[in-house]
């Protein structure tokens, strides 16, 4: 190590010790982003910002929330909502952001799928991103339990019961997760710990990993062009900003992101102030009651599609119980997106509109997820059950067909 003689108490001395300028260059002013992108490339920064809102609003809720079955409901619905100055605002900001963050995650995910931003060197970005989806889901679920209303309670009862494993009857596991025979005080307190400490810690770690996996392969662009970043960066630094195909992350790319963020904030705060109800189920304003299931229970909108695959199969087939088949499809639906890069057999990175069969696959998948979401909210009666069953079947069929469809596209193009 070169000994440093400059004083610790000087800007120069601090720079010598930390090399902040170099760090800033690598992370910001010489982190190159392609020019050929659109507003969908701003979703990462929108997500990072929404996550920050969740942390800040969460800190303020944490100061008055009480993780005790006797106190939780009132600490939210009386103390925070009525007594704490702006408590209602922090709660609505937290609840709406928790819902909106999933909307942006889905947009972010399907942007990646559409433009092929998950393969040929970008697999780790995709996998770390899906890891974030899973941890955010766990965070959403554990947070939903905390107000201790009827929906909180029964969502907790149903989801923890999934760990019984259907006909496997792994009953001991459920009671271990709950810390009791039913969802109760021990369950609430431990999920409180998970929600405010362990899962956020993991999420922050995985966000850092997600950024890191992106830094080396760089972000994809609208035509999926393979850019020589060194050559283009040289052009930009030499002053040929017009000819260069890239821009620095800071200040150029982020200034565009801020414009998108501005529009996002208008949408977000409109919801917070005028339409917060959509994130507040009326059933959850009844205190939790372990002896009475609400007449119809359903998860938040962002879990509806996978919930519908759980109850899609409503009759026994192939020698298996309906509930077990649903459980298997549900488990599959949670993890299948992770292996997307390996199911896509097309060797080229191209946007979906340059891959005609995949383009159709993409929109059918979106449509199917929408149908599953709509029917996940409806009571499972009569024709609803049938639609759910067909949409669940289509969901499986789409995944089975993905390798063949992507291969056929590549063959038609002459790439295989």
């Amino acid at each position: 190590m070169a000994l440093i003689n400059e004083s610790f108490f000087s800007a120069e001395g601090l720079e010598k010790r930390l090399a902040g300028k170099k760090f800033w260059k690598v992370m910001m002013t010489e982190y190159w982003i392609p020019k050929d992108i659109n507003f969908l490339w701003a979703m990462g920064v929108v997500l990072a910002t929404t996550f920050s809102i969740l942390i800040v609003s969460g800190i303020f809720l944490l100061m008055y929330y009480k993780p005790d079955t006797a106190l939780a409901f009132d600490s939210v619905n009386y103390t925070i909502m009525q007594e704490v100055s702006y408590g209602w605002l922090f709660r609505h900001m937290h609840g709406v952001a928790a819902s909106v963050v999933f909307l942006i995650i889905y947009i972010h995910m399907f942007t990646g799928i559409y433009y092929g931003s998950y393969k040929k060197g970008r697999e780790m970005i995709w996998i770390s991103g899906m890891l974030l989806f899973v941890t955010f889901s766990a965070e959403g679920f554990s947070g939903y339990m905390l107000p201790w209303g009827q929906m909180s309670y029964w969502a907790a009862a149903v989801i923890t019961n999934l760990f019984a494993g259907g006909s496997l009857e792994a009953w001991g596991l459920v009671e271990w997760i709950r810390g009791g025979f039913t969802v109760g005080d021990a369950t609430l307190t431990r999920f409180f710990m998970l929600h405010v400490f362990l899962i956020p810690l993991v999420i922050i770690g995985v966000i850092v990993l997600h950024f890191y996996t992106l830094r080396i392969p760089h972000v994809n662009n609208q035509t999926s062009e393979d850019i020589d970043y060194d050559a283009e960066a040289e052009k930009y630094l030499a002053g040929n900003k017009k000819e260069s195909k890239v821009i620095p992350f800071w200040p150029v790319f982020l200034s565009k992101d801020f414009a998108v963020l501005g529009i996002f904030f208008i949408f977000y705060f409109y919801l917070v102030f005028f339409n917060y109800d959509f994130a507040m189920d009326p059933v959850n304003f009844d205190p939790a009651n372990s002896m009475k299931t609400p007449t119809h229970i359903y998860p938040e909108w962002y879990f509806l599609w996978s919930y519908e695959t759980l109850r899609g199969p409503f009759f026994d087939m192939l020698g298996m119980k309906a509930g077990d088949i649903g459980l298997m499809i549900f488990a599959l639906a949670q993890v299948i997106f992770v292996v997307f890069p390996f199911l896509d057999r097309d060797p080229d990175v191209l946007p979906a509109h340059k891959r005609p069969r995949f383009f159709i696959w993409f929109w059918i998948m979106i449509l199917d997820l929408l149908v599953l979401s709509v029917y996940g909210k409806l009571p499972p009666l009569g024709a609803n059950s049938l639609v759910g069953f067909v949409a669940t079947g289509l969901f499986l069929l789409l995944w089975v067909s993905l390798p063949f469809i992507t291969k056929a596209d590549a063959k038609a193009r002459g790439a295989l």
Binding site: A157, G166, W176, F181, T182, R190, M291, T293, P313
Partner: protein, 174 residues
């Protein structure tokens, strides 16, 4: 050479101690999440069928370990239906010439509490249905309502303990 072996020994000793310590920590952490002794100790409930004021055909709900217990004194018609279906006598609790359905009132699909709809239990969560004997008749439930362990003393049932009647009922549903 002897130097390398000494380092190998040190390395393996370190790994062994770390593995044992790590495993022991995991066991401790697992046990910290187990239900507490007070929770386990509170797991007994008595139901006196002589004083429960049951009406045939109308189930009552009791609470045991935070779970609902459905007790239904069956009508003659319901008994005849169960016989016609071929359910064994041990499917129900037979006491003093009366026949009861005695089950944990939790849907065997995903744990919601079904509601009694005059002739059957219907689950609001995913549409599962159970007949008056507690057998699944529609939807995703994979098996009948579960029978809790109980001991019979005259007309008094102690839930949480176990006896020949509950063993026979549980066996009849296996």
């Amino acid at each position: 050479m002897s130097n390398t072996n000494r380092r190998d020994f040190l390395g393996m000793s370190f790994a062994a101690v770390a593995a044992v310590g790590g495993a022991a920590s995991l066991v401790g952490m697992k046990q910290a999440w187990d239900p507490l002794p007070s929770v386990l100790a509170a797991g007994f409930t008595t139901i006196d069928l002589a004083k429960a004021e049951l009406k045939p055909g109308e189930p009552k709900t009791f609470k045991w370990r935070g779970k609902p217990i459905f007790v239904l004194e069956m009508t003659k018609q319901q008994i005849a239906d169960a016989d016609a279906e071929g359910l064994p006598k041990e499917y129900h609790l037979n006491l003093n010439d009366k026949t009861y359905t005695l089950v944990i009132g939790i849907c065997t699909h995903l744990g919601c509490i079904p509601a009694w709809k005059g002739i059957k239990w219907k689950c609001a969560c995913h549409g599962g249905e159970f007949n008056p004997s507690g057998k699944q008749i529609f939807g995703p439930p994979p098996k009948p309502f579960v029978v809790p362990p109980f001991k019979v003393d005259g007309m008094v049932l102690t839930l949480g303990e176990t006896g020949p009647e509950s063993k026979a009922m549980i066996a009849a549903r296996a």
